[in-house]
Point group: C2
Chain length 323, copies 2
Amino acid sequence: MQTTLPSYAVLSGGVGGAKLVLGLQRILLSGQLQVIANTGDDFEHLGLTICPDIDTLMYTLAGIAHPDNGWGLQNESWQFMAGMKKLGGETWFRLGDGDLATHVRRQQLLASGLGLSEVTAELSRALDVAVTICPMSDEPVRTIIETDEGALAFQDYFVRRKTEPAASAFHYSGSDQASASNAALAALENAASGAIIITPSNPWLSIDPIMSLSDIKNAINASPAPVIGISPIVGGRALKGPTAKLMGELGIEPSVLNIARHYRDVVDGLIIDNQDADQQNAIEAMGLTVKVCNTMMMNLSDKIKLAEDTVSFAASLRADKTT
Amino acid sequence: MQTTLPSYAVLSGGVGGAKLVLGLQRILLSGQLQVIANTGDDFEHLGLTICPDIDTLMYTLAGIAHPDNGWGLQNESWQFMAGMKKLGGETWFRLGDGDLATHVRRQQLLASGLGLSEVTAELSRALDVAVTICPMSDEPVRTIIETDEGALAFQDYFVRRKTEPAASAFHYSGSDQASASNAALAALENAASGAIIITPSNPWLSIDPIMSLSDIKNAINASPAPVIGISPIVGGRALKGPTAKLMGELGIEPSVLNIARHYRDVVDGLIIDNQDADQQNAIEAMGLTVKVCNTMMMNLSDKIKLAEDTVSFAASLRADKTT
Protein backbone atom coordinates (compact mmCIF):
# COMPACT_ATOMS: atom_id res chain seq x y z
CA MET A 1 0.00 0.00 0.00
CA GLN A 2 1.38 3.36 -1.05
CA THR A 3 1.04 5.99 1.65
CA THR A 4 2.47 9.01 -0.15
CA LEU A 5 1.78 9.98 -3.71
CA PRO A 6 4.82 9.76 -5.99
CA SER A 7 6.61 13.01 -6.75
CA TYR A 8 8.01 14.01 -10.14
CA ALA A 9 10.94 16.28 -10.95
CA VAL A 10 10.65 17.54 -14.50
CA LEU A 11 13.56 19.11 -16.39
CA SER A 12 12.19 21.65 -18.82
CA GLY A 13 13.04 24.39 -21.25
CA GLY A 14 10.34 26.59 -22.77
CA VAL A 15 7.59 25.65 -25.20
CA GLY A 16 7.99 21.88 -25.70
CA GLY A 17 8.68 21.26 -22.04
CA ALA A 18 5.86 23.50 -20.90
CA LYS A 19 3.37 21.49 -22.99
CA LEU A 20 4.18 18.28 -21.15
CA VAL A 21 4.27 20.06 -17.81
CA LEU A 22 0.77 21.36 -18.52
CA GLY A 23 -0.37 17.80 -19.18
CA LEU A 24 1.27 16.60 -15.97
CA GLN A 25 -0.35 19.45 -14.04
CA ARG A 26 -3.77 18.19 -15.12
CA ILE A 27 -3.24 14.64 -13.83
CA LEU A 28 -1.15 15.21 -10.69
CA LEU A 29 -1.77 17.04 -7.44
CA SER A 30 0.29 20.20 -7.18
CA GLY A 31 2.53 18.76 -4.47
CA GLN A 32 3.53 15.93 -6.82
CA LEU A 33 5.02 18.11 -9.52
CA GLN A 34 8.20 20.17 -9.42
CA VAL A 35 9.69 21.66 -12.53
CA ILE A 36 13.41 22.38 -12.81
CA ALA A 37 13.63 25.18 -15.34
CA ASN A 38 16.51 25.96 -17.63
CA THR A 39 17.94 29.40 -16.92
CA GLY A 40 20.70 29.19 -19.54
CA ASP A 41 18.51 31.35 -21.80
CA ASP A 42 18.29 34.11 -19.20
CA PHE A 43 19.91 37.39 -20.00
CA GLU A 44 20.16 40.99 -18.92
CA HIS A 45 18.35 43.31 -21.27
CA LEU A 46 17.39 46.97 -20.86
CA GLY A 47 18.51 46.68 -17.25
CA LEU A 48 16.16 43.78 -16.59
CA THR A 49 16.83 40.10 -15.94
CA ILE A 50 14.77 38.19 -18.49
CA CYS A 51 14.04 34.49 -17.81
CA PRO A 52 12.32 33.21 -20.96
CA ASP A 53 11.86 29.56 -19.97
CA ILE A 54 10.60 30.34 -16.47
CA ASP A 55 8.15 32.82 -17.96
CA THR A 56 6.91 30.41 -20.63
CA LEU A 57 6.33 27.82 -17.90
CA MET A 58 4.56 30.29 -15.59
CA TYR A 59 2.41 31.76 -18.34
CA THR A 60 1.52 28.33 -19.73
CA LEU A 61 0.54 26.96 -16.33
CA ALA A 62 -1.38 30.15 -15.50
CA GLY A 63 -3.28 29.79 -18.77
CA ILE A 64 -2.20 33.22 -20.01
CA ALA A 65 0.53 32.29 -22.51
CA HIS A 66 0.25 33.45 -26.10
CA PRO A 67 -1.37 30.54 -27.94
CA ASP A 68 1.02 30.50 -30.91
CA ASN A 69 4.19 32.49 -30.31
CA GLY A 70 5.83 30.18 -27.80
CA TRP A 71 6.69 33.22 -25.68
CA GLY A 72 4.90 36.13 -24.07
CA LEU A 73 1.30 36.72 -23.11
CA GLN A 74 -1.98 36.44 -24.90
CA ASN A 75 -3.84 39.71 -25.64
CA GLU A 76 -0.59 41.65 -25.46
CA SER A 77 -0.04 45.28 -26.49
CA TRP A 78 3.16 46.90 -27.75
CA GLN A 79 3.22 50.55 -26.72
CA PHE A 80 6.41 50.08 -24.74
CA MET A 81 8.23 48.69 -27.76
CA ALA A 82 6.96 51.56 -29.92
CA GLY A 83 8.23 54.03 -27.32
CA MET A 84 11.57 52.25 -27.08
CA LYS A 85 11.97 52.36 -30.83
CA LYS A 86 11.27 56.09 -30.86
CA LEU A 87 13.85 56.58 -28.11
CA GLY A 88 16.52 54.72 -30.03
CA GLY A 89 16.60 51.78 -27.61
CA GLU A 90 16.99 48.14 -28.55
CA THR A 91 13.89 46.50 -29.95
CA TRP A 92 15.15 43.18 -31.35
CA PHE A 93 13.91 41.36 -28.25
CA ARG A 94 10.18 41.98 -28.10
CA LEU A 95 8.76 42.77 -24.67
CA GLY A 96 5.00 43.24 -24.52
CA ASP A 97 3.45 45.78 -22.19
CA GLY A 98 1.89 43.19 -19.89
CA ASP A 99 4.91 40.89 -20.02
CA LEU A 100 7.09 43.81 -18.98
CA ALA A 101 5.38 43.84 -15.60
CA THR A 102 6.88 40.40 -14.94
CA HIS A 103 10.39 41.58 -15.79
CA VAL A 104 10.17 44.84 -13.84
CA ARG A 105 8.64 43.09 -10.82
CA ARG A 106 11.26 40.34 -10.99
CA GLN A 107 14.07 42.89 -11.19
CA GLN A 108 12.63 44.77 -8.23
CA LEU A 109 12.39 41.59 -6.13
CA LEU A 110 15.92 40.51 -7.12
CA ALA A 111 17.22 43.97 -6.22
CA SER A 112 15.53 43.65 -2.83
CA GLY A 113 17.85 40.71 -2.14
CA LEU A 114 15.68 37.70 -2.94
CA GLY A 115 17.14 34.83 -4.93
CA LEU A 116 15.71 33.81 -8.30
CA SER A 117 14.00 30.77 -6.72
CA GLU A 118 12.19 32.93 -4.18
CA VAL A 119 11.31 35.51 -6.82
CA THR A 120 9.94 32.78 -9.10
CA ALA A 121 7.88 31.38 -6.22
CA GLU A 122 6.50 34.85 -5.50
CA LEU A 123 5.60 35.51 -9.15
CA SER A 124 4.07 32.03 -9.46
CA ARG A 125 1.95 32.64 -6.36
CA ALA A 126 0.73 35.94 -7.76
CA LEU A 127 -0.22 34.21 -11.03
CA ASP A 128 -1.94 31.34 -9.20
CA VAL A 129 0.51 28.76 -10.51
CA ALA A 130 0.39 25.94 -7.97
CA VAL A 131 3.18 23.90 -9.57
CA THR A 132 6.61 24.63 -8.10
CA ILE A 133 8.93 26.07 -10.75
CA CYS A 134 12.54 25.79 -9.59
CA PRO A 135 15.17 27.71 -11.52
CA MET A 136 18.06 25.27 -12.02
CA SER A 137 20.27 27.77 -10.19
CA ASP A 138 19.95 31.10 -8.42
CA GLU A 139 23.29 32.05 -9.93
CA PRO A 140 23.84 33.04 -13.56
CA VAL A 141 24.61 30.27 -16.03
CA ARG A 142 24.51 31.42 -19.62
CA THR A 143 24.33 29.26 -22.71
CA ILE A 144 26.91 30.26 -25.31
CA ILE A 145 26.70 28.95 -28.87
CA GLU A 146 29.87 28.62 -30.92
CA THR A 147 28.91 29.40 -34.49
CA ASP A 148 30.43 30.19 -37.84
CA GLU A 149 29.91 33.84 -36.82
CA GLY A 150 31.77 33.38 -33.55
CA ALA A 151 30.53 32.78 -30.01
CA LEU A 152 27.00 34.08 -29.49
CA ALA A 153 25.02 34.53 -26.28
CA PHE A 154 21.82 32.52 -26.40
CA GLN A 155 19.37 35.30 -27.18
CA ASP A 156 21.73 36.81 -29.73
CA TYR A 157 21.76 33.45 -31.46
CA PHE A 158 18.13 32.51 -30.94
CA VAL A 159 16.23 35.78 -31.29
CA ARG A 160 18.49 38.39 -32.82
CA ARG A 161 20.08 36.03 -35.38
CA LYS A 162 17.03 33.70 -35.56
CA THR A 163 19.27 30.59 -35.20
CA GLU A 164 20.69 31.28 -38.66
CA PRO A 165 24.41 30.92 -37.88
CA ALA A 166 25.59 27.30 -37.99
CA ALA A 167 26.33 26.00 -34.49
CA SER A 168 29.38 23.89 -33.77
CA ALA A 169 29.48 23.65 -29.99
CA PHE A 170 27.79 24.85 -26.80
CA HIS A 171 29.00 25.83 -23.44
CA TYR A 172 27.27 26.92 -20.33
CA SER A 173 29.18 29.85 -18.99
CA GLY A 174 29.25 29.97 -15.20
CA SER A 175 28.15 26.36 -14.75
CA ASP A 176 31.44 25.39 -13.12
CA GLN A 177 31.00 28.01 -10.40
CA ALA A 178 27.24 27.96 -9.98
CA SER A 179 25.40 25.76 -7.51
CA ALA A 180 22.06 24.21 -8.24
CA SER A 181 19.23 25.92 -6.43
CA ASN A 182 18.12 24.31 -3.19
CA ALA A 183 14.66 24.05 -4.70
CA ALA A 184 15.95 22.06 -7.68
CA LEU A 185 17.93 19.70 -5.46
CA ALA A 186 14.91 19.23 -3.19
CA ALA A 187 12.77 18.45 -6.23
CA LEU A 188 15.23 15.77 -7.32
CA GLU A 189 15.30 14.30 -3.82
CA ASN A 190 11.49 14.24 -3.62
CA ALA A 191 11.40 12.51 -6.99
CA ALA A 192 12.80 9.35 -5.35
CA SER A 193 9.20 8.24 -4.94
CA GLY A 194 8.23 8.96 -8.55
CA ALA A 195 10.49 9.78 -11.46
CA ILE A 196 12.81 12.29 -13.00
CA ILE A 197 11.39 13.34 -16.36
CA ILE A 198 13.33 14.99 -19.15
CA THR A 199 10.79 16.82 -21.31
CA PRO A 200 11.07 16.89 -25.11
CA SER A 201 12.87 20.24 -24.97
CA ASN A 202 16.00 20.82 -27.02
CA PRO A 203 18.73 18.58 -25.50
CA TRP A 204 21.61 20.98 -26.18
CA LEU A 205 19.88 24.30 -25.56
CA SER A 206 17.41 23.46 -22.79
CA ILE A 207 18.37 20.24 -21.00
CA ASP A 208 22.17 20.15 -21.15
CA PRO A 209 22.41 23.59 -19.45
CA ILE A 210 20.54 22.06 -16.50
CA MET A 211 22.73 18.96 -16.57
CA SER A 212 25.84 21.14 -16.76
CA LEU A 213 25.45 21.82 -13.05
CA SER A 214 27.44 19.06 -11.37
CA ASP A 215 25.23 18.85 -8.30
CA ILE A 216 22.15 18.36 -10.48
CA LYS A 217 23.87 15.75 -12.63
CA ASN A 218 25.17 13.95 -9.53
CA ALA A 219 21.74 14.03 -7.89
CA ILE A 220 20.16 12.54 -11.01
CA ASN A 221 22.81 9.83 -11.28
CA ALA A 222 22.46 8.98 -7.59
CA SER A 223 18.65 9.00 -7.57
CA PRO A 224 16.83 5.70 -6.99
CA ALA A 225 14.06 7.05 -9.23
CA PRO A 226 13.76 6.05 -12.87
CA VAL A 227 14.92 8.77 -15.24
CA ILE A 228 12.74 9.09 -18.31
CA GLY A 229 13.43 11.06 -21.45
CA ILE A 230 10.95 11.96 -24.17
CA SER A 231 12.46 12.31 -27.61
CA PRO A 232 12.15 15.78 -29.13
CA ILE A 233 12.81 14.18 -32.52
CA VAL A 234 9.89 12.49 -34.25
CA GLY A 235 10.34 10.84 -37.62
CA GLY A 236 13.65 12.61 -38.15
CA ARG A 237 12.23 16.07 -37.52
CA ALA A 238 11.88 18.41 -34.55
CA LEU A 239 8.28 19.43 -33.99
CA LYS A 240 9.31 22.95 -33.10
CA GLY A 241 12.51 24.91 -32.77
CA PRO A 242 15.99 24.30 -34.09
CA THR A 243 16.73 20.82 -32.67
CA ALA A 244 16.93 19.02 -36.03
CA LYS A 245 18.83 21.89 -37.67
CA LEU A 246 21.28 21.93 -34.77
CA MET A 247 21.84 18.17 -34.92
CA GLY A 248 22.59 18.50 -38.61
CA GLU A 249 25.15 21.22 -37.92
CA LEU A 250 26.76 19.07 -35.24
CA GLY A 251 27.05 16.24 -37.78
CA ILE A 252 24.48 14.12 -35.98
CA GLU A 253 21.64 12.71 -38.06
CA PRO A 254 18.35 13.84 -36.48
CA SER A 255 16.87 10.56 -35.25
CA VAL A 256 15.50 9.08 -32.05
CA LEU A 257 18.48 6.76 -32.08
CA ASN A 258 20.82 9.70 -31.78
CA ILE A 259 18.65 11.24 -29.06
CA ALA A 260 18.97 7.92 -27.25
CA ARG A 261 22.75 8.06 -27.68
CA HIS A 262 22.79 11.60 -26.28
CA TYR A 263 20.79 10.63 -23.18
CA ARG A 264 21.88 7.00 -22.70
CA ASP A 265 24.14 7.72 -19.72
CA VAL A 266 21.40 9.66 -17.96
CA VAL A 267 18.06 7.98 -18.64
CA ASP A 268 16.67 4.57 -17.81
CA GLY A 269 13.83 4.83 -20.25
CA LEU A 270 13.04 6.75 -23.42
CA ILE A 271 9.63 7.56 -24.83
CA ILE A 272 9.57 7.67 -28.62
CA ASP A 273 6.78 8.41 -31.01
CA ASN A 274 4.72 5.77 -32.86
CA GLN A 275 6.37 6.97 -36.08
CA ASP A 276 9.72 5.76 -34.73
CA ALA A 277 8.53 2.36 -33.48
CA ASP A 278 10.98 0.65 -35.84
CA GLN A 279 13.89 2.01 -33.80
CA GLN A 280 12.69 0.53 -30.52
CA ASN A 281 14.92 -2.54 -30.75
CA ALA A 282 18.03 -0.57 -31.56
CA ILE A 283 17.47 1.70 -28.57
CA GLU A 284 16.72 -1.22 -26.27
CA ALA A 285 19.98 -2.74 -27.44
CA MET A 286 21.70 0.23 -25.77
CA GLY A 287 20.25 -0.92 -22.46
CA LEU A 288 17.36 1.53 -22.32
CA THR A 289 13.74 0.66 -21.81
CA VAL A 290 11.58 2.13 -24.54
CA LYS A 291 7.96 3.16 -24.57
CA VAL A 292 6.30 3.85 -27.90
CA CYS A 293 3.29 6.14 -27.97
CA ASN A 294 2.05 9.37 -29.47
CA THR A 295 4.40 12.18 -28.39
CA MET A 296 3.02 14.91 -30.66
CA MET A 297 1.23 17.37 -28.37
CA MET A 298 -1.09 19.19 -30.73
CA ASN A 299 -3.85 19.89 -28.20
CA LEU A 300 -4.60 19.59 -24.52
CA SER A 301 -5.74 15.95 -24.71
CA ASP A 302 -2.46 15.02 -26.40
CA LYS A 303 -0.61 16.69 -23.54
CA ILE A 304 -2.65 14.92 -20.89
CA LYS A 305 -2.32 11.58 -22.72
CA LEU A 306 1.47 11.91 -22.98
CA ALA A 307 1.61 12.91 -19.32
CA GLU A 308 -0.39 9.78 -18.43
CA ASP A 309 1.84 7.59 -20.60
CA THR A 310 4.92 9.11 -18.97
CA VAL A 311 3.62 8.55 -15.45
CA SER A 312 2.59 4.95 -16.20
CA PHE A 313 5.96 4.31 -17.85
CA ALA A 314 7.57 5.65 -14.67
CA ALA A 315 5.47 3.28 -12.55
CA SER A 316 6.49 0.28 -14.66
CA LEU A 317 10.16 1.25 -14.46
CA ARG A 318 9.86 1.63 -10.67
CA ALA A 319 8.26 -1.80 -10.48
CA ASP A 320 11.11 -3.26 -12.59
CA LYS A 321 13.69 -1.70 -10.26
CA THR A 322 12.11 -3.15 -7.13
CA THR A 323 11.59 -6.64 -8.50
CA MET B 1 23.23 96.64 -33.43
CA GLN B 2 22.71 93.35 -31.68
CA THR B 3 24.89 90.60 -33.08
CA THR B 4 23.69 87.64 -31.03
CA LEU B 5 20.13 86.84 -30.14
CA PRO B 6 19.35 87.05 -26.42
CA SER B 7 19.30 83.78 -24.51
CA TYR B 8 16.81 82.83 -21.82
CA ALA B 9 17.25 80.49 -18.86
CA VAL B 10 13.87 79.31 -17.64
CA LEU B 11 13.37 77.69 -14.23
CA SER B 12 10.51 75.25 -14.48
CA GLY B 13 8.59 72.54 -12.70
CA GLY B 14 5.99 70.45 -14.52
CA VAL B 15 2.66 71.50 -15.99
CA GLY B 16 2.49 75.26 -15.38
CA GLY B 17 6.10 75.80 -16.28
CA ALA B 18 5.88 73.61 -19.36
CA LYS B 19 2.99 75.72 -20.68
CA LEU B 20 5.10 78.87 -20.68
CA VAL B 21 8.11 77.02 -22.05
CA LEU B 22 5.93 75.83 -24.93
CA GLY B 23 4.97 79.43 -25.64
CA LEU B 24 8.60 80.52 -25.50
CA GLN B 25 9.57 77.68 -27.83
CA ARG B 26 7.17 79.07 -30.44
CA ILE B 27 8.67 82.56 -30.44
CA LEU B 28 12.38 81.88 -29.92
CA LEU B 29 14.98 79.99 -31.87
CA SER B 30 16.01 76.77 -30.17
CA GLY B 31 19.45 78.11 -29.28
CA GLN B 32 17.84 80.95 -27.33
CA LEU B 33 15.96 78.79 -24.85
CA GLN B 34 17.35 76.65 -22.06
CA VAL B 35 15.13 75.18 -19.41
CA ILE B 36 16.44 74.36 -15.96
CA ALA B 37 14.16 71.61 -14.72
CA ASN B 38 13.29 70.79 -11.14
CA THR B 39 14.46 67.31 -10.19
CA GLY B 40 13.26 67.49 -6.58
CA ASP B 41 10.21 65.43 -7.62
CA ASP B 42 12.38 62.65 -8.98
CA PHE B 43 12.25 59.33 -7.25
CA GLU B 44 13.24 55.73 -7.54
CA HIS B 45 10.28 53.50 -8.21
CA LEU B 46 10.13 49.85 -9.34
CA GLY B 47 13.88 50.06 -9.84
CA LEU B 48 13.56 53.01 -12.20
CA THR B 49 14.55 56.65 -11.80
CA ILE B 50 11.42 58.66 -12.55
CA CYS B 51 11.83 62.37 -13.44
CA PRO B 52 8.28 63.75 -13.63
CA ASP B 53 9.10 67.38 -14.41
CA ILE B 54 11.71 66.57 -17.05
CA ASP B 55 9.25 64.19 -18.68
CA THR B 56 6.38 66.69 -18.63
CA LEU B 57 8.67 69.23 -20.26
CA MET B 58 9.93 66.78 -22.88
CA TYR B 59 6.49 65.41 -23.70
CA THR B 60 4.96 68.89 -23.86
CA LEU B 61 7.66 70.21 -26.16
CA ALA B 62 7.49 67.08 -28.31
CA GLY B 63 3.73 67.55 -28.64
CA ILE B 64 2.97 64.12 -27.18
CA ALA B 65 1.90 65.03 -23.63
CA HIS B 66 -1.50 63.95 -22.36
CA PRO B 67 -3.76 66.95 -23.01
CA ASP B 68 -5.44 66.99 -19.57
CA ASN B 69 -3.61 64.89 -16.99
CA GLY B 70 -0.56 67.10 -16.51
CA TRP B 71 1.62 63.99 -16.73
CA GLY B 72 2.22 61.12 -19.08
CA LEU B 73 1.55 60.59 -22.75
CA GLN B 74 -1.45 61.01 -24.96
CA ASN B 75 -3.02 57.81 -26.37
CA GLU B 76 -1.53 55.79 -23.55
CA SER B 77 -2.33 52.16 -22.67
CA TRP B 78 -2.15 50.47 -19.27
CA GLN B 79 -1.31 46.80 -19.73
CA PHE B 80 1.86 47.14 -17.66
CA MET B 81 -0.06 48.54 -14.70
CA ALA B 82 -2.64 45.76 -14.98
CA GLY B 83 0.18 43.20 -14.99
CA MET B 84 1.88 44.87 -12.04
CA LYS B 85 -1.36 44.82 -10.06
CA LYS B 86 -1.80 41.11 -10.77
CA LEU B 87 1.78 40.49 -9.62
CA GLY B 88 1.25 42.32 -6.34
CA GLY B 89 3.54 45.20 -7.25
CA GLU B 90 2.97 48.87 -6.44
CA THR B 91 0.41 50.60 -8.62
CA TRP B 92 -0.21 53.91 -6.83
CA PHE B 93 2.11 55.72 -9.24
CA ARG B 94 0.66 55.21 -12.68
CA LEU B 95 3.12 54.40 -15.44
CA GLY B 96 1.65 54.04 -18.91
CA ASP B 97 3.04 51.49 -21.35
CA GLY B 98 4.52 54.08 -23.70
CA ASP B 99 5.75 56.29 -20.87
CA LEU B 100 7.54 53.30 -19.38
CA ALA B 101 9.86 53.24 -22.37
CA THR B 102 11.20 56.63 -21.23
CA HIS B 103 11.89 55.37 -17.72
CA VAL B 104 13.47 52.08 -18.80
CA ARG B 105 15.60 53.81 -21.44
CA ARG B 106 16.65 56.49 -18.94
CA GLN B 107 17.59 53.86 -16.39
CA GLN B 108 19.59 51.97 -18.97
CA LEU B 109 21.49 55.11 -20.02
CA LEU B 110 22.12 56.11 -16.39
CA ALA B 111 23.38 52.60 -15.65
CA SER B 112 25.74 52.90 -18.61
CA GLY B 113 27.44 55.76 -16.76
CA LEU B 114 25.90 58.84 -18.35
CA GLY B 115 24.81 61.71 -16.13
CA LEU B 116 21.18 62.82 -15.96
CA SER B 117 21.96 65.87 -18.13
CA GLU B 118 23.43 63.72 -20.89
CA VAL B 119 20.59 61.22 -20.61
CA THR B 120 18.02 64.03 -20.83
CA ALA B 121 19.79 65.42 -23.88
CA GLU B 122 19.75 61.98 -25.50
CA LEU B 123 16.04 61.41 -24.77
CA SER B 124 15.21 64.94 -25.97
CA ARG B 125 17.10 64.35 -29.20
CA ALA B 126 15.21 61.11 -29.79
CA LEU B 127 11.90 62.91 -29.23
CA ASP B 128 12.91 65.80 -31.52
CA VAL B 129 12.86 68.32 -28.69
CA ALA B 130 15.17 71.09 -29.83
CA VAL B 131 14.97 73.08 -26.59
CA THR B 132 17.74 72.22 -24.13
CA ILE B 133 16.29 70.78 -20.93
CA CYS B 134 18.88 70.93 -18.16
CA PRO B 135 18.21 68.97 -14.97
CA MET B 136 19.07 71.34 -12.11
CA SER B 137 21.59 68.74 -10.92
CA ASP B 138 22.94 65.40 -12.04
CA GLU B 139 22.97 64.38 -8.38
CA PRO B 140 19.89 63.45 -6.36
CA VAL B 141 18.06 66.24 -4.56
CA ARG B 142 14.74 65.15 -3.14
CA THR B 143 11.93 67.40 -1.94
CA ILE B 144 10.63 66.36 1.47
CA ILE B 145 7.37 67.74 2.83
CA GLU B 146 6.87 68.03 6.57
CA THR B 147 3.20 67.34 7.20
CA ASP B 148 0.79 66.56 10.00
CA GLU B 149 1.38 62.91 9.04
CA GLY B 150 5.16 63.26 9.33
CA ALA B 151 7.83 63.83 6.71
CA LEU B 152 6.77 62.64 3.26
CA ALA B 153 8.82 62.17 0.11
CA PHE B 154 7.40 64.26 -2.69
CA GLN B 155 5.57 61.57 -4.63
CA ASP B 156 4.22 60.03 -1.44
CA TYR B 157 2.77 63.43 -0.61
CA PHE B 158 1.72 64.46 -4.09
CA VAL B 159 0.49 61.26 -5.72
CA ARG B 160 -0.01 58.61 -3.07
CA ARG B 161 -1.57 60.96 -0.51
CA LYS B 162 -2.97 63.38 -3.14
CA THR B 163 -1.60 66.43 -1.21
CA GLU B 164 -4.15 65.76 1.54
CA PRO B 165 -1.82 66.01 4.56
CA ALA B 166 -1.32 69.60 5.74
CA ALA B 167 2.19 70.80 4.92
CA SER B 168 4.21 72.83 7.43
CA ALA B 169 7.69 72.99 5.90
CA PHE B 170 9.81 71.79 3.00
CA HIS B 171 13.34 70.72 2.64
CA TYR B 172 15.40 69.58 -0.26
CA SER B 173 17.33 66.58 0.85
CA GLY B 174 20.78 66.40 -0.69
CA SER B 175 20.83 70.03 -1.83
CA ASP B 176 23.74 70.88 0.47
CA GLN B 177 25.94 68.20 -1.14
CA ALA B 178 24.70 68.35 -4.71
CA SER B 179 26.23 70.55 -7.38
CA ALA B 180 24.20 72.22 -10.08
CA SER B 181 24.58 70.53 -13.43
CA ASN B 182 27.08 72.11 -15.79
CA ALA B 183 24.25 72.47 -18.28
CA ALA B 184 22.17 74.51 -15.81
CA LEU B 185 25.09 76.76 -14.93
CA ALA B 186 25.87 77.26 -18.62
CA ALA B 187 22.23 78.16 -19.24
CA LEU B 188 22.37 80.81 -16.52
CA GLU B 189 25.62 82.19 -17.93
CA ASN B 190 24.18 82.33 -21.45
CA ALA B 191 21.14 84.16 -20.09
CA ALA B 192 23.30 87.23 -19.47
CA SER B 193 22.17 88.42 -22.88
CA GLY B 194 18.49 87.82 -22.23
CA ALA B 195 16.79 87.01 -18.95
CA ILE B 196 16.30 84.46 -16.25
CA ILE B 197 12.63 83.52 -16.12
CA ILE B 198 10.87 81.87 -13.21
CA THR B 199 7.79 80.12 -14.62
CA PRO B 200 4.47 80.14 -12.74
CA SER B 201 5.26 76.73 -11.22
CA ASN B 202 4.74 76.11 -7.52
CA PRO B 203 7.33 78.24 -5.67
CA TRP B 204 7.86 75.79 -2.80
CA LEU B 205 7.59 72.51 -4.67
CA SER B 206 9.07 73.36 -8.07
CA ILE B 207 11.20 76.52 -7.93
CA ASP B 208 12.69 76.49 -4.42
CA PRO B 209 14.22 73.03 -4.97
CA ILE B 210 16.13 74.54 -7.90
CA MET B 211 17.09 77.58 -5.84
CA SER B 212 18.20 75.32 -2.97
CA LEU B 213 21.36 74.59 -4.93
CA SER B 214 23.79 77.26 -3.80
CA ASP B 215 25.64 77.46 -7.10
CA ILE B 216 22.38 78.08 -8.96
CA LYS B 217 21.25 80.68 -6.44
CA ASN B 218 24.65 82.38 -6.57
CA ALA B 219 24.68 82.37 -10.36
CA ILE B 220 21.22 83.95 -10.45
CA ASN B 221 22.18 86.58 -7.91
CA ALA B 222 25.39 87.38 -9.77
CA SER B 223 23.79 87.47 -13.21
CA PRO B 224 23.64 90.79 -15.06
CA ALA B 225 20.41 89.59 -16.63
CA PRO B 226 17.02 90.66 -15.36
CA VAL B 227 15.27 87.97 -13.33
CA ILE B 228 11.56 87.76 -14.00
CA GLY B 229 8.94 85.84 -12.07
CA ILE B 230 5.40 85.06 -13.17
CA SER B 231 2.92 84.72 -10.33
CA PRO B 232 1.33 81.28 -10.02
CA ILE B 233 -1.42 82.92 -7.95
CA VAL B 234 -4.18 84.73 -9.83
CA GLY B 235 -7.01 86.42 -7.96
CA GLY B 236 -6.13 84.58 -4.78
CA ARG B 237 -6.24 81.16 -6.38
CA ALA B 238 -3.79 78.79 -8.00
CA LEU B 239 -4.83 77.84 -11.51
CA LYS B 240 -3.69 74.29 -11.01
CA GLY B 241 -2.10 72.27 -8.29
CA PRO B 242 -1.78 72.79 -4.58
CA THR B 243 -0.09 76.20 -4.44
CA ALA B 244 -2.99 78.07 -2.81
CA LYS B 245 -3.76 75.18 -0.42
CA LEU B 246 -0.10 75.01 0.54
CA MET B 247 0.14 78.75 1.19
CA GLY B 248 -2.89 78.50 3.43
CA GLU B 249 -1.28 75.69 5.41
CA LEU B 250 1.90 77.73 5.75
CA GLY B 251 -0.19 80.59 7.15
CA ILE B 252 0.40 82.75 4.09
CA GLU B 253 -2.64 84.26 2.42
CA PRO B 254 -2.64 83.18 -1.24
CA SER B 255 -2.06 86.48 -3.05
CA VAL B 256 0.29 87.93 -5.63
CA LEU B 257 1.60 90.17 -2.87
CA ASN B 258 2.79 87.16 -0.95
CA ILE B 259 4.26 85.64 -4.10
CA ALA B 260 6.15 88.92 -4.52
CA ARG B 261 7.38 88.69 -0.91
CA HIS B 262 8.54 85.12 -1.54
CA TYR B 263 10.52 86.09 -4.65
CA ARG B 264 11.55 89.67 -3.81
CA ASP B 265 15.18 88.82 -3.06
CA VAL B 266 15.54 86.93 -6.31
CA VAL B 267 13.56 88.72 -9.01
CA ASP B 268 13.81 92.15 -10.56
CA GLY B 269 10.39 92.01 -12.09
CA LEU B 270 7.13 90.19 -11.50
CA ILE B 271 4.38 89.49 -14.00
CA ILE B 272 0.91 89.46 -12.45
CA ASP B 273 -2.47 88.84 -13.96
CA ASN B 274 -4.92 91.55 -14.99
CA GLN B 275 -7.16 90.37 -12.15
CA ASP B 276 -4.49 91.47 -9.67
CA ALA B 277 -3.76 94.87 -11.23
CA ASP B 278 -4.82 96.54 -7.96
CA GLN B 279 -1.77 95.07 -6.22
CA GLN B 280 0.74 96.52 -8.67
CA ASN B 281 1.57 99.53 -6.51
CA ALA B 282 2.11 97.50 -3.37
CA ILE B 283 4.50 95.18 -5.19
CA GLU B 284 6.34 98.09 -6.81
CA ALA B 285 6.72 99.53 -3.32
CA MET B 286 8.88 96.48 -2.54
CA GLY B 287 11.28 97.62 -5.24
CA LEU B 288 10.11 95.25 -7.96
CA THR B 289 9.07 96.20 -11.46
CA VAL B 290 5.63 94.86 -12.27
CA LYS B 291 4.03 93.92 -15.55
CA VAL B 292 0.30 93.36 -15.65
CA CYS B 293 -1.12 91.14 -18.40
CA ASN B 294 -3.08 87.97 -18.92
CA THR B 295 -1.19 85.09 -17.30
CA MET B 296 -3.90 82.45 -17.63
CA MET B 297 -2.66 79.99 -20.26
CA MET B 298 -5.84 78.28 -21.40
CA ASN B 299 -4.74 77.61 -24.97
CA LEU B 300 -1.72 77.86 -27.23
CA SER B 301 -2.27 81.53 -28.12
CA ASP B 302 -2.38 82.42 -24.41
CA LYS B 303 0.95 80.62 -23.97
CA ILE B 304 2.52 82.39 -26.93
CA LYS B 305 1.12 85.77 -25.80
CA LEU B 306 2.47 85.35 -22.26
CA ALA B 307 5.82 84.28 -23.71
CA GLU B 308 5.87 87.44 -25.85
CA ASP B 309 4.91 89.60 -22.86
CA THR B 310 7.65 87.96 -20.79
CA VAL B 311 10.30 88.48 -23.46
CA SER B 312 9.30 92.13 -24.02
CA PHE B 313 9.26 92.70 -20.25
CA ALA B 314 12.78 91.26 -20.15
CA ALA B 315 13.86 93.63 -22.92
CA SER B 316 12.48 96.63 -21.05
CA LEU B 317 14.20 95.56 -17.82
CA ARG B 318 17.48 95.10 -19.71
CA ALA B 319 17.09 98.55 -21.18
CA ASP B 320 16.42 99.97 -17.68
CA LYS B 321 19.56 98.28 -16.36
CA THR B 322 21.82 99.68 -19.06
CA THR B 323 20.48 103.23 -18.95
